[in-house]
Symmetry: none
Subunit: 246 residues, 2 copies
DNA sequence: CATGCAAGGTTCCATATACAAGTTGGAGGT
DNA sequence: ACCTCCAACTTGTATATGGAACCTTGCATG
């Protein structure tokens, strides 16, 4: 004889002093995060949750509704609730890895290392990276190409105290961004986006006309309170646009 | 004799088919966005809203609760609800109100209405707004000035079904963005940012040289599944940069 | 004067109930 | 075979009610 109770759910934890609806949310989140319920898997209906967990329909409703606004599930009236596809959109925009981004478009990525060296920071740079004037700072300039077409000029300074081995990396295999986030998880980022005309040397590297407008992204990132890197990303306006959706 | 009804609130709009709690949210958002209620200003309590608007306490509760998760207000148990300090860089960027942004810098904002009219949508526009070809679509072009210097050219199309009264608004008092979010809360946005050279007519309005690079933000927003607006924001590169930090 | 306490306002949670609106699937007719 | 229509299920909204937890304020008591 089949039990009325679906053993997908354990009973709610009495000891926890979390609100009921939070407990319901936690149960469902668990299934999703462990992968037990894959994308598009059906989530129990509100009435089903009422039966299974013995809560009122309104608290089941609140749990599901909030999970929907959090992007964990999607709900459509008349059909039901389903596990939402994993949200991409790494942050807002920009923190995305240029190599990944190109890969997703099915194109080839190539990193052209223009310069890598360690420098002594002047006042401006020291201010940007929040280090003492005269400190050692790593500097790299890399030209990223998509199918052999230059698409991003990356001019980066790195706090040598945070990433002493930065210049030892093989930047044709791992992007600076990927390396840095792997050794120092980003806790804060600040960025400015503007439209500029390129400098002559930038034109040459990007193979564009002097009059072509470019997107300039200037970004600084911090990890646990310390400035990690300050980078200047220059994109030819005709070949690239930033995208974001949420 | 003082009336029990606080005239801070107008009565709810019967014609709108928005849910009640959304209407309540809209009323409060309007006060906040227009600056009538400054930061830390007290928001009416749930029971006060019940008296004023004649809704049940639970829907007042839902409205305030959602506004709190959206970051519009903060609530503390036992004390009340208060207008939250403007959060820097709403989410990613861009959905910010240009008037607010200028106001924060302590400068004066002026909206110069270039064009407002209703048009019949062609295939491209209909596709962008997800309406039938031939539908009526509102069109507005507004030049925003900061201390009398042109800083943003806003070229906007609005789904007339969602916002039939769009063109009746006084855009020198409330920005299109503020109005639209007040009547149709944003559920999704898609945006592209690119660097372009301006068109001749755009140069003239923005008072810039033909060769000056500009930031172009193209954005579409949805509210509960329906496309609300498609907008093209053009900023002179020398006068503006997008900022975000998280 | 200081401490404590009670009252009233506020948010927060939970439930029961009702109806509206969208989807699906099947029964039953043509 | 096809169509129509309805029943059942789903989410979405709105209301009424009750209690708990928390804060402020003012007053009574020591």
């Amino acid at each position: 004889m089949p039990s009325v109770i679906d053993h997908d759910f354990t009973t709610l934890d009495e000891r926890s002093d979390l609100p009921l609806y939070e407990m319901v949310k936690a149960q469902i989140k668990l299934k999703v995060e462990t992968g037990e319920w894959p994308t598009n898997h059906r989530v129990p209906s509100e009435n089903r949750i009422v039966e299974m967990l013995g809560v009122s329909r309104m608290t089941a409703n609140r749990a599901l509704r909030e999970l929907a606004t959090e992007g964990v599930i999607t709900r459509v009236q008349g059909r039901g609730s389903f596990v939402a596809p994993k949200k991409r959109s790494a942050g807002s925009m920009g923190v995305r890895n240029i190599a990944e981004e190109i890969g997703e478009r099915g194109l080839s990525h190539h990193a052209n290392i223009i310069l890598t060296q360690t420098e002594i920071s002047g006042p401006d740079l020291a201010g940007a990276l929040e280090v003492e004037v005269g400190s050692a700072v790593h500097h790299s300039i890399i030209l990223h190409e998509e199918d052999h077409v230059p698409i991003q000029l990356e001019d980066r300074f790195v706090n040598a105290e945070v990433a002493p081995d930065y210049l030892k990396q093989d930047f044709s295999r791992i992007t600076p961004n990927a390396y840095l986030t792997s050794i120092a998880p980003i806790s804060r980022t600040e960025q400015y986006i503007e439209a500029v005309l390129p400098q002559p040397w930038e034109c040459k590297l990007l193979a564009i006309a002097r009059s072509e407008p470019c997107l300039l992204v200037r970004r600084r990132t911090w990890s646990s309170g310390r400035a990690v890197t300050s980078v200047r990303l220059l994109y030819p306006g005709s070949r690239y646009r930033l995208q974001s959706s949420e």
